[in-house]
C-alpha cells in the first residue's frame, strides 16, 4: 500500500505538472481577458508540431525555445486580426470564434502533417534512466518535465506580481480606460497576454508531444481535461491551476493504481453484479478513474463555483 501511495504521488505529480503546463495559459487568458479560449489545446498541439518540425533542422534544444515563440506569434495574429474584431460583439461570439478556430487548426494540422502520428522523440540523452523507484525506471525526460513546470510557475508568478509589465497588465484588465488615459496601449497589452498564453500552451505541447503522441487528435484528447483544471483551480488563478493539476494528477493515478472495489473490500454479500446498485458495488476503482476529473468539475460548479483560488464565479 505504501508503495502504491508513494508511486501515485510521484507519478501523479508528473502527470499533474504536464496538465499545469497546458492549463496555465488558458487560465491566464481567461483571468486577464475574460476570453474562454476553446482553441487553447490546439495551440498546445501546434507547439508539439512546430517543435517536431523545427527540431529536424535546429535540434531539440533550440526548438524548445523557438516553437513556443512561433506559437505565441500565431496567437498574436489570431488575437489581432480575429478575436479583437469579434470582441466588440461580446463573449458568446468570442466563444464561438475560438470553437471554430479549434477545428480549423485541427484540419490544417492534418493537411500539413498528415493524420499519422509524427515520430517526435526526445533527444537520446534524455531517454536514459535517471533513477529507479520500485523497479520502475524514470528517464531524464521526466525530470526535465518537472523542471520545466517549476520554471514556468515561478517565472509566471514573478512576471505578474513583481514586474512593472505585470502591474500594467493587471491594471489594464480591471481598469482599461484609466490605463489607456495614462498613455499605455491597452489593445497591445491584450494581444501580448493572448500571445503569451498561447506560447505557454505551445511550451506544454513541446513537452507533452513527446510524452504522449503527436497527432492531429491530441488537441481533442487534451481539451476537456484542461477546462476541468481551470474551473477546479478557479478561473484566472495561476496558483489555482497548479494545485488543481496536481490534485487531478494524483487522484487519477491513485485510483488507477489500486485494486479496489466495494465488493472486494467488504465482501460480495451475495450482491449480484447487475442492476444499478450491483454494478456500483462491483465497480473497480480503475473504471471510476477516468470519470473522476469530470465528477470534480460538476461538484466544483455546484458547491464552490469559483474554484479553489478563484475570485469570481465560473
Amino acid at each position: 500500500m505504501l508503495e502504491t501511495i508513494a508511486y501515485s504521488i510521484f507519478n501523479g505529480v508528473l502527470y499533474g505538472t504536464l496538465l499545469f503546463m497546458m492549463s496555465s495559459g488558458l487560465t491566464l487568458i481567461f483571468g486577464m481577458m475574460g476570453v474562454l479560449n476553446f482553441a487553447h489545446a490546439s495551440f498546445y498541439m501546434l507547439g508539439a508540431y512546430f517543435a517536431y518540425t523545427l527540431g529536424l533542422t535546429t535540434g531539440f534544444w533550440l526548438a524548445l525555445i523557438l516553437a513556443p515563440i512561433a506559437v505565441g506569434a500565431m496567437g498574436a495574429l489570431v488575437e489581432r486580426y480575429g478575436l479583437r474584431r469579434v470582441h466588440q460583439y461580446g463573449h458568446v461570439p468570442e466563444l464561438l470564434f475560438t470553437f471554430g478556430l479549434a477545428y480549423v487548426i485541427e484540419e490544417l494540422v492534418a493537411l500539413f502533417w498528415g493524420t499519422v502520428p509524427v515520430p517526435y522523440k526526445a533527444p537520446a540523452v534524455m531517454n536514459t534512466t535517471a533513477f529507479t523507484m520500485f523497479d520502475l525506471d524514470y528517464s531524464w525526460f521526466k525530470v526535465f518535465i518537472l523542471l520545466v513546470a517549476v520554471v514556468m510557475f515561478v517565472g509566471l508568478w514573478l512576471l505578474l506580481m513583481k514586474t512593472r509589465a505585470g502591474q500594467v497588465i493587471q491594471a489594464a484588465l480591471s481598469r482599461p480606460d484609466m490605463v489607456g488615459a495614462l498613455g499605455h496601449n491597452v489593445p497591445l497589452v491584450f494581444t501580448l497576454v493572448f500571445a503569451f498564453g498561447c506560447a505557454l500552451a505551445g511550451l506544454g505541447g513541446v513537452v507533452g508531444g513527446i510524452q504522449f503522441v503527436t497527432d492531429p487528435g491530441m488537441a481533442f484528447m487534451m481539451g476537456p481535461i484542461v477546462f476541468v483544471v481551470v474551473v477546479l483551480g478557479g478561473l484566472g488563478s495561476v496558483p489555482g491551476a497548479l494545485v488543481a493539476s496536481l490534485i487531478i494528477g494524483i487522484l487519477q493515478t491513485f485510483f488507477l493504481s489500486i485494486n479496489f472495489s466495494l465488493a472486494e473490500t467488504i465482501g460480495t454479500l451475495n450482491i449480484e453484479d447487475s442492476g444499478f446498485f450491483g454494478v456500483l458495488w462491483h465497480m473497480e476503482a480503475t473504471r471510476i478513474a477516468p470519470v473522476l476529473p469530470f465528477l470534480l468539475l460538476v461538484l466544483t460548479l455546484i458547491f464552490r463555483p469559483r474554484g479553489i483560488f478563484g475570485k469570481r464565479e465560473a
Binding site: 493524420t115 499519422v116 502520428p117 477516468p290
Partner: protein
C-alpha cells in the same frame, strides 16, 4: 458592406457548384460505389484515414484492370466519428444515395449497430438492399449470435486470433505470467474472458496475473497501469488495444524499463509503429493475417510490388490491411459471378463459401457464418526486417505461421437466409 456582398457571392457559387457536382453523381450511375464509414475526425482519425487510403488504392488497382463488369469502383468516404448512431445514419444516407455496399471495421460496437441497421433496411427496403463488408471489427458475436446474411467478415474474429495465439503460446516455455489489458468495450471484454478460459485449458505452465480494462480513447497517462503490470510480476502482456491506446501503452511500458513481451492484435499499423518507434524492438508482437516481410519470406513478388506502389503513393505510411485486398477482390469475383452489381442477395450468395486464392494461400469465406478462414502470422518488431513500418526503421519478422486448421473456431451462428 462590400465584404458581405463578396461572401454572399462566394456562398452562392459554392452552393451551385456543389449542386452541380451532386447532380453529376446522380446522373452518372456508372461507378460501383462502396461507402467507407469510419472515424475521419477525432482521436481515431488517423486509423480511419489509413483504411481509406487502402480502399482507394485497391479500387484504383481494380479500375486500372478494367474495373468490375467494366464499371469503375468508387469509395465514398463518410465520417462516423466512431459513433454507432452516426454510422446507422450514414447507412441510411448510403441507401438514399443508391449505394449497395458499405464497409467498416473500427469498433465492434459500431459493427453491431451496423448489422442491425443493414438487416432492418434489407427487410423493409427490398429494392435497395445493402451489403456490409467488415474488414476489421473482430467481436465474435458478429458471426455468432448476431450473424447476418448481409454481413461478411474478412478479418479473423477475436476468438480465432486468440485460438491461433494460444496455439503458439502453449509451446513457449518462457510465458508463465500473463497480464491482460484491454479497452473497456465488447472487444476488450471478450479478450479478457476468452483468454482466461484458454489459459486454463491450454497453457498449464501459465497463469493470468492481472486483467484490467481502461476507457477507450481517454487515457493519456498509462504509467499507473504499467505500475500494476510491474507489481503483478507479469512476463507477458496480451492486449487488443489499437491506435493511440496501444501506442501510449507500449511507450509507457518501454519508458518504465519493463522487460516483458507484448502480444497485440494491432501493433503493426494504425500509427502504432510510428508512435512507438525502435523502442518496440523484440518487445512488440502482433498476430495478423499478413505483414510486409511475409512477401519477402515467401517470394510473393507481385504482392511486393503492390506494396511498393502503395508506398510510392503514400510515402508516409504502408500497406497494412491485407484483408482489404482480399475483400475487394472477393467482392469483385462475386459481382462478376452474378453479373449484376445491384443484386445484393445474389452477390451475398456468391460470396458465401467462396474460396479465394490470396497471395498468402487459400482463404475461405465460411458459408455458415460469413467468417473468413485464413492462415495467420505471429511476428515481432525487428530492425533487420526488409520493410520497415511507417518509416520507423523497424519492421516485423515472422516468429510463427499458424496454419488455417489451427486458426479456426466453430460458430454458433444460425443464419436466416432470404
Amino acid at each position: 458592406m462590400l465584404q458581405n456582398k463578396k461572401t454572399g457571392l462566394l456562398t452562392g457559387s459554392l452552393i451551385s457548384l456543389s449542386m452541380a457536382v451532386s447532380s453529376i453523381a446522380y446522373a452518372n450511375e456508372d461507378p460501383i460505389r462502396i461507402s467507407y464509414i469510419e472515424p475521419l475526425s477525432g482521436p481515431f482519425a488517423n486509423v480511419g484515414d489509413l483504411g481509406l487510403k487502402h480502399f482507394r488504392f485497391a479500387a484504383d488497382k481494380i479500375n486500372e484492370d478494367g474495373g468490375i463488369l467494366g464499371r469503375d469502383v468508387k469509395i465514398v468516404a463518410m465520417d462516423n466519428k466512431q459513433s454507432p448512431s452516426e454510422s446507422v445514419q450514414l447507412i441510411q444516407r448510403s441507401v438514399d444515395d443508391g449505394i449497395n455496399f458499405v464497409t467498416q471495421g473500427n469498433g465492434s460496437n459500431v459493427g453491431g449497430a451496423m448489422i442491425e441497421a443493414v438487416e432492418r433496411n434489407n427487410r423493409r427496403n427490398k429494392d435497395n438492399k445493402v451489403l456490409y463488408l467488415n474488414y476489421a471489427a473482430v467481436d465474435p458475436a458478429l458471426t455468432n449470435e448476431q450473424c447476418s446474411f448481409y454481413h461478411f467478415r474478412f478479418d479473423a474474429a477475436s476468438d480465432i486470433k486468440l485460438e491461433a495465439l494460444t496455439n503458439y503460446m502453449k509451446d513457449q516455455e518462457d510465458i508463465n505470467k500473463i497480464f491482460l489489458i484491454n479497452m473497456d468495450y465488447s472487444h476488450g471484454h471478450f479478450i479478457s474472458e476468452r483468454m482466461t478460459e484458454l489459459v486454463d485449458e491450454r497453457l498449464p505452465q501459465a497463469e493470468i496475473v492481472g486483467d484490467v480494462m481502461h476507457p477507450i480513447g481517454q487515457v493519456r497517462d498509462f504509467s499507473p497501469y504499467v505500475s500494476r503490470i510491474q507489481q503483478s510480476g507479469a512476463d507477458t502482456v496480451v492486449s487488443g488495444n489499437w491506435g493511440n491506446d496501444l501506442s501510449l501503452l507500449v511507450r509507457a511500458i518501454d519508458s518504465a524499463g519493463l522487460d516483458i513481451k507484448i502480444y497485440t492484435y494491432y501493433g503493426g499499423g494504425l500509427g502504432t509503429p510510428a508512435a512507438v518507434g525502435p523502442k518496440g524492438e523484440d518487445l512488440l508482437h502482433q498476430i495478423s493475417e499478413w505483414h510486409a516481410d511475409v512477401n519477402v519470406d515467401e517470394g510473393l513478388n507481385d504482392y511486393e510490388s503492390w506494396f511498393q506502389e502503395f508506398k510510392e503513393r503514400h510515402p508516409e505510411t504502408d500497406w497494412y490491411y491485407h484483408r482489404i485486398y482480399n475483400q475487394m477482390y472477393m467482392l469483385k469475383a462475386a459481382i462478376e459471378e452474378v453479373g449484376d452489381a445491384e443484386d445484393v442477395d445474389a452477390i451475398a450468395g456468391a460470396l458465401e463459401g467462396m474460396e479465394f486464392e490470396s497471395p498468402t494461400g487459400t482463404i475461405t469465406m465460411r458459408a455458415k457464418d460469413h467468417q473468413t478462414l485464413q492462415p495467420m502470422y505471429i511476428s515481432v518488431m525487428d530492425k533487420d526486417a526488409k520493410y520497415d513500418a511507417d518509416n520507423t526503421g523497424v519492421g516485423f519478422r515472422t516468429v510463427a505461421e499458424i496454419p488455417v486448421e489451427q486458426a479456426t473456431v466453430d460458430t454458433s451462428c444460425n443464419m436466416k437466409r432470404p
